[in-house]
Subunit: 239 residues, 2 copies
């Protein structure tokens, strides 16, 4: 019996350790994405190159954390809430890694746009700046909700994704208008279109993390269920 | 002692059952994607509607299989190869679900393109048809490699993704040319661009499954490692 608390304490420490590693990875990914937005606004190819080379760091975190999670599953055989936490972390790092990819992709486009970049309309830069700020806030808040296993916050943040999607649709409509008015802008506008899409996808990944947080806190898989209904169900469960 | 084989046999059956369920889900997803390509070629809105409503079936498989996998982790506490198999299946269904999303997305575009659809250049339809065939073959072969845990096949299939990416780049270049030549095609060409992108992404997901198969068969996480090197390393390991 007297070994129990010791084993369980070490287990808790292991779980805590990998949880913290995920939050560290999230910090690196947030910075990568924020930098990609800056590189885009200022056509800063030095910063863009830095982001691209730092993507390997993000990938390294993903591989290391996944190995640690599988190690915990094999050695500790967690159940109930502990198992849900490990599953949540495994899924979260896959989304974080993909956000890192988006940052690197945007950085790559900053480099490849080169001379054509002046053709990027100032209005588009304003659009994508606002979208980037919004996506970054979603990501930060989602990771906060994960750190606190806060399902209510997660629902609220996930709902914000619809607003980002609307921004995206507006931005693409405006880009199409520029292209039609001046076909010389077509190539630059298509790059811009894919940049806007990448930013919109960051919001989707943040929303995914929110869904894992609801699963972690409530034990319910809410993927593919409208958020409206999830909020109602959780309220019913709480009362 | 005599309970061991019984427990282990039931465990094997559980694993086998969930493995088969994944292959069934893959069959549904393959059909969804193949149908999306047909709906696009023939501007068939009835088929498109069918694909969209059937996406819920794909999502249902994802939720059910994930629950079964987590149940196996909790009850059976698998180790080594069994644990790798469960992790591989959990990851695979996430990619399959996303391929299902791409099929539904293409079907949605078939519907929304409406009257403008005649503006889609016959050359683009030829391009995307060839890309779709290629992506579908990659997906089928990847699921085959998974069923046989065949790492060599997985490497070969994953390498094919580069060819699909080249096809995609060629198709987008041609689309940009049409847009420049005739700005009236811009809206339709942008729809076409996103359809081509969705098909290209199906190849990425098939490639992901190949990476999980290598992990399953060899116990090595090969994500973020060039395939050239993976092939060399595995050959060395085998000799």
């Amino acid at each position: 019996m007297d070994k129990e608390p010791h084993i369980s304490q070490r287990f808790d420490e292991e779980l805590q350790g990998v949880h913290e590693l995920v939050l560290t990875m999230a910090g690196v990914v947030e910075e990568q994405f924020a930098n990609a937005m800056v590189a885009l606004q200022h056509q800063d190819s030095e910063l863009a190159n830095e982001i691209i080379s730092r993507d390997a760091v993000v990938n390294g975190y993903e591989v290391r954390i996944e190995e640690e999670c599988i190690g915990i599953l094999a050695r500790r055989q967690p159940a109930a809430g502990d198992l849900r936490l490990v599953m949540t972390l495994i899924k979260t790092i896959a989304d974080l890694e993909r956000i890192g990819d988006k940052a690197a992709k945007i950085a790559n486009m900053v480099l490849s746009m080169g001379h054509g970049s002046q053709a990027i309309h100032a209005n588009f830069l304003r659009d994508v700046h606002a979208m980037g700020e919004y996506a970054l806030r979603m990501l930060r808040e989602a990771m906060d909700a994960l750190a606190r296993a806060d399902a209510d916050a997660a629902i609220r943040i996930a709902r914000g994704d619809e607003e980002l999607n609307q921004e995206y649709r507006g931005a693409t409509r405006r880009l199409v208008t520029y292209m039609m008015e001046d076909p010389r802008t077509i190539t630059a506008a298509i790059d811009a279109l894919f940049i806007a899409k990448a930013v919109e996808r960051v919001g989707d990944h943040a929303r995914n993390v929110c869904e894992y947080v609801i699963y972690l806190a409530k034990g319910r898989n809410v993927r593919h269920i409208p958020l409206e209904q999830v909020a109602k169900d959780l309220q019913k469960g709480a009362s």
